[in-house]
Amino acid sequence: MKRTTQIQPTWCPGCGNFGILGAIKQSLDKLNLQPHQLTVVYDVGCSGNMADFIYSYGFHGLHGRTLPVAAGIKLANHQLPVIAIIGDGGCYGEGLSHFVSLARGNHHILVITHNNYLYSLTTGQMSPTSQKGTKTPSTPSGSIEEPFNPLASAIINHATFVARGFAGDIPHLASLIEQGLNHQGFALLDVLQPCITYNKNMTYQWYRQHIYDLQKQNHNSGDKKTALAKALETDKLPVGIFLQKKKPAYHQQIPGFPDTALAQQDISSIDISSLL
């Protein structure tokens, strides 16, 4: 199946985005989703530049504003799987209010956050997930803020699928994307993404030494408190599914939400007499 366009990716050689793109392709193949059968919404950043490379319906939006676009597409056509591709800056910084609100509403979208712990497209400033004390061009004396915890935030804000993957383990990441796409509700997949150009401390090797697979540890992903405890671990970084809950998605909770997609509703003749 044709998955990519003729445009060559512009990422740095060795960028974690290559692994994420590979995992997306694998999961779409596995689910046998044709290019027209899904929409991908892209944020602004190195991750969002994937817009030119994936062959599917796509919308490359504004920095930090990808999630509401994705949720709007889903409301317009709820039969369509919708993926949001976004970075840690857009998702947990600029667009944090959308992340929290759409998670609380259980909007049915899969959010893949390319978390490289830095702003890379703007040449390596600190991001919301950077460790306190991180020295970057915008924080030469070290960052003052404590890092934002995406997984714990998603869990306490009622996301119904919360997972973390690693860009250096494509088969595992592909399986998480597949499960995220199958999930009926707000799915966060935070991806540990090495930035080989600006983040010299968090290399592929560093990640391999610091991650472990939750699903190999008999983790109970149905339990919120356990999931939260795992999300608060920082010495070692668990990967896999932290939490998965069954709950109707936002559109399924709207009284009288139509079976026919809003986008396909006939508007050729509208009678307003009952409204007046």
Binding site: K2, T5, I7, Q34, P35, H36, Q37, T39, V41, V44, N49, A51, D52, Y55, S56, Y57, G58, F59, H60, G61, L62, R65, L67, P68, V69, A70, A71, G72, I73, L75, A76, N77, Q79, L80, S97, H98, V100, S101, L102, I254, P255, G256, F257, P258, A261, L262, A263, Q264, Q265, I267, S268, S269, I270, D271, I272, S273, S274, L275, L276
Partner: protein, 558 residues
């Protein structure tokens, strides 16, 4: 013979002033009068000073009147606040001559029903029917049950009886009824705009509450199920506009509503709609600014901002309805033109138009809509990316919708080539800017474009020029102004230069009139036509012009 009256009720916020005013307005409407209702209130839930005033007549009324026939003062200072509106003929009802609490106690009703006694007294004084008031009360309080309805009836009756014993000589003769209520509606600009949007195929409304646009959210949320639309109160105005754009990209007619502050937050989204060529309708119900400004008051300060908001240049429409009839018509048109030309359409209203009540002809029940720019799946037959931004004669390119086989494409907030892929190439950039810009000329030629309109005599010594909500006030003032006509702009942008020049070719003296401090339409006319209009009337205290005030200002100029 007296054919109209101006009535006002004034009291503290939380005393049910607006509710009482609306009940009385509906009573007048039911009586068969043409009714205008105007409310002033501070941005508070309790305390402060609230008013609701009614101008009612057997003839069509389009605006409030400043001088009052009856003033009902519910709190001590009410009459003091409104000294300038009182004439020697004004009847003032207050605790001095109308003991509301005593009347309530007489019939053992709840003290909060006291205003109904004032309505009963007003009905007597104006020669209206007490039965009509009682009928309105029954409808308004139906949900609260029969005992509440009955108690309100008793209080109203007590007020009526008291007035008939004490104010007999002051009672005015009844105004004959003319308006047939089943052919008319009594509603606000915001309500009319909401219904018009539904008639135009609106399927998704997203908003964050902001006065004075909030009642659009309330109206649409209340009608969502019946109208088969989705209404979402979103996290903020940025989320709001981006969600509507996402839905628009997926093929749904969407709208957002806010006031100036929220509109400011939406401006990056406005540009997103512009460059991605995604249909979007934004309502900006104006209030005085900048920043938080005066939330519950009216303004026309955002005209040039609406035309220029967001960085760089792209085509858009700015619609400026003058009354609820136009709110309905233009909200419907906005849905259609946004889709037809794949661009943002801004509807500028204001607090005065959005929250005042007007009597209008009922719109027709059936509304036809065409879909624009979409593509049949059988015409799509390539597994190559679709040229979403193909250059065309009109600048509008066909668009498949997500989910359609063989229509795969990218919509892009970055400058892009015809396929939608990001480009920084010089010729591609110029090509896409020019492609988008082409739309403007076609919009101006569109048969559905609403050109400036002339009201009053074809030739006159002086011609008033205005836009938006001043229309009603000017039409009301034209009844008194000699040798004067009026040009109203229902759409200000793109600027309809040709039609404006035709209308003003033989005009003698031009006067622009706006509710802002710098004369934004006046500036725009000069910019677009080279015509300098030196006479202008400006008001920017949050209040609308009143017809008599306008008449005096115009007469002073001549």
């Amino acid at each position: 013979m007296n054919t109209s009256f101006n009535w006002k009720i004034a009291g503290a916020a939380g005393e049910g002033i607006k509710k009482a005013g609306l009940i009385f307005a509906k009573t007048c409407f039911k009586h068969g009068l043409s009714v205008h209702g105007y409310t002033e209130y501070p941005s508070l839930i309790r305390g402060g000073h609230n008013t609701f005033q009614i101008h009612a007549s057997a003839e069509d009324v389009f605006s409030p009147q400043f001088k009052l026939d009856i003033l009902v003062g519910i709190h001590e200072k009410a009459t003091q606040y409104h000294q300038s509106e009182i004439t020697p003929e004004t009847i003032t009802l207050s605790s001095d001559n109308l003991p509301l609490m005593k009347l309530v106690k007489q019939v053992k009703a709840h003290p909060k029903m006291k205003n109904m006694a004032a309505l009963g007294a007003s009905v007597f004084l104006l020669g209206l029917s007490l039965d009509t008031l009682k009928q309105t009360l029954a409808e308004v309080f139906a949900k609260k049950g029969q005992p509440v309805v009955q108690a309100n009836h008793q209080v109203a009756q007590a007020g009526y009886d008291f007035a008939s014993q004490n104010f007999k000589t002051q009672a005015k003769p009844a105004i004959p009824a003319k308006t047939k209520t089943d052919h008319h509606l009594f509603l606000t600009g915001n309500q009319a705009l909401s219904y018009g949007a539904i008639a135009g195929g609106l399927k998704l409304y997203v908003a964050y509450p902001m006065t004075p646009a909030t009642s659009i959210l309330h109206t649409l949320a209340a009608k969502a199920k019946a109208a088969n639309i989705i209404v979402r109160h979103a996290e903020d105005e940025i989320g709001t506009v981006n969600m509507a754009i996402g839905a628009g990209f997926a093929g749904v007619r969407s709208m957002v509503g806010t006031s100036g502050g929220g509109f400011s937050l939406m401006t990056e989204g406005l540009g997103l709609s512009g460059i991605t060529e995604t249909p979007l309708v934004i309502v900006n119900a104006m209030r005085p600014g900048p920043a938080s400004g005066m939330p519950t008051w009216s303004s026309q300060g955002d005209l040039l901002y609406a035309i220029h908001a967001s960085q760089d240049e792209f085509p858009r429409l700015v619609l400026t309805p003058g009354d609820p009839q136009e709110c309905f018509q233009l909200a419907k048109l906005a849905q259609n033109l946004a889709e037809k030309y794949q661009l943002p359409v801004i509807i500028l209203t204001d607090k005065y138009l959005g929250e005042s009540y007007f009597t209008i002809n009922k719109p027709t029940a059936q509304h036809q809509n065409q879909r624009y720019g979409l593509i049949n799946t059988q015409d799509l037959n390539s597994d190559q990316p679709f040229k979403r931004y193909q250059d065309t004669d009109t600048g509008v390119s066909p668009r498949p919708l997500p989910g359609q086989p063989n229509g795969v494409h990218l919509c892009n907030s970055y400058e892009h080539d015809e396929l939608g892929y990001a480009t920084e190439d010089s010729s591609q950039r110029i090509k896409q800017v020019n492609k988008r810009a082409k739309k403007t000329a076609h919009i101006l030629k569109d048969p559905d474009f609403v050109n400036p309109q002339l009201y009053g005599p074809k030739t006159a010594d002086q011609t008033l020029i205005s836009w938006g909500s001043n229309k009603g006030v000017i039409l009301q003032a034209l009844k008194q102004l000699k040798n004067t006509n009026f040009i109203h702009f229902p759409i200000v942008w793109p600027f309809p230069t040709a039609q404006f020049q035709t209308l003003t070719k033989t005009a003698k003296k031009l006067i622009t009139l706006e509710c802002n401090s710098t004369g934004q339409l006046n500036q725009l006319i000069r910019q677009q036509t080279g015509l300098t209009i030196k006479d202008q009337l400006l008001k920017y205290d949050g209040r609308p012009f009143f017809p008599q005030e306008l008449q005096e200002l115009v007469e002073k100029l001549s």
